[in-house]
Symmetry: C2
Subunit: 106 residues, 2 copies
DNA sequence: AAACTATTTGGCTATTATACCAAATACGAC
DNA sequence: GTCGTATTTGGTATAATAGCCAAATAGTTT
């Protein structure tokens, strides 16, 4: 595999990796309903302000969300909304997995 | 956020996390063209046999691929092929990101 | 300008992930 | 059964990630 290909797969994997964390995935899904400010996320998750901020930054670096400061608050929104289209298939993976486990137990 | 919801997002994130590694993503995409045995992957990537095997195991644990032993070889194939549908959007994220970077540089 | 609020950054530690090597296992050929 | 090949497993060193705290920054209010 050549260097260019490696870099491309690294870049693509980084996008998926950014979504590969429960908190970040949840936040991304929340954003599909519209923009949120950091404080709204902090209220709903039991986590430190700095933790939430860092997670949002990872999503931003990945190119999934963008932020805008208005007054004291920073609002985040999805930059490329299609990123959540894949979730129905992720759920299909989970059902298939659950099914296998049930079959296994029989 | 309640415990059930947390567990669901953990499960969904784990699927995405499994694809969030260059080597694993590449292998998954290869499998979209048909099954492959471990040795075929090893030939194409510059990595140890055990490394490849472990990556495939992570994809298997995530429920993305399944394996079948035939003779000396173990063949892997996609269990839920739709999982690669999202790749066009991942590429859209990358183009959008690239575009931002170019605008930024102006 | 001082006080207050929202957010980010830096530092630290604990946990997890990655990759290699060596050893173990599974299977087929002889 | 012994040998050779394909794959997995265990061990270990290194690197990356996550989450908390404290400090820094940015904007608002008074």
């Amino acid at each position: 595999m050549d260097k260019k290909t490696k870099e491309l797969y690294k870049a693509k994997a980084d996008v998926l990796k950014a979504l590969g964390h429960p908190t970040r995935l949840w936040m991304a899904e929340q954003l599909s309903e519209g923009e949120r400010c950091v404080c709204e996320f902090v209220k709903e998750i039991d986590a430190d302000f700095s933790t939430v901020s860092k997670h949002l930054n990872i999503l931003k670096q990945a190119g999934i969300v963008e932020d805008e400061k208005r007054g004291l608050n920073v609002y985040y929104k999805l930059k490329v909304p299609c990123i959540l289209n894949s979730m129905s298939c992720v759920e299909a993976v989970l059902s298939a997995k659950l099914k296998s486990q049930i079959d296994m137990a029989k």
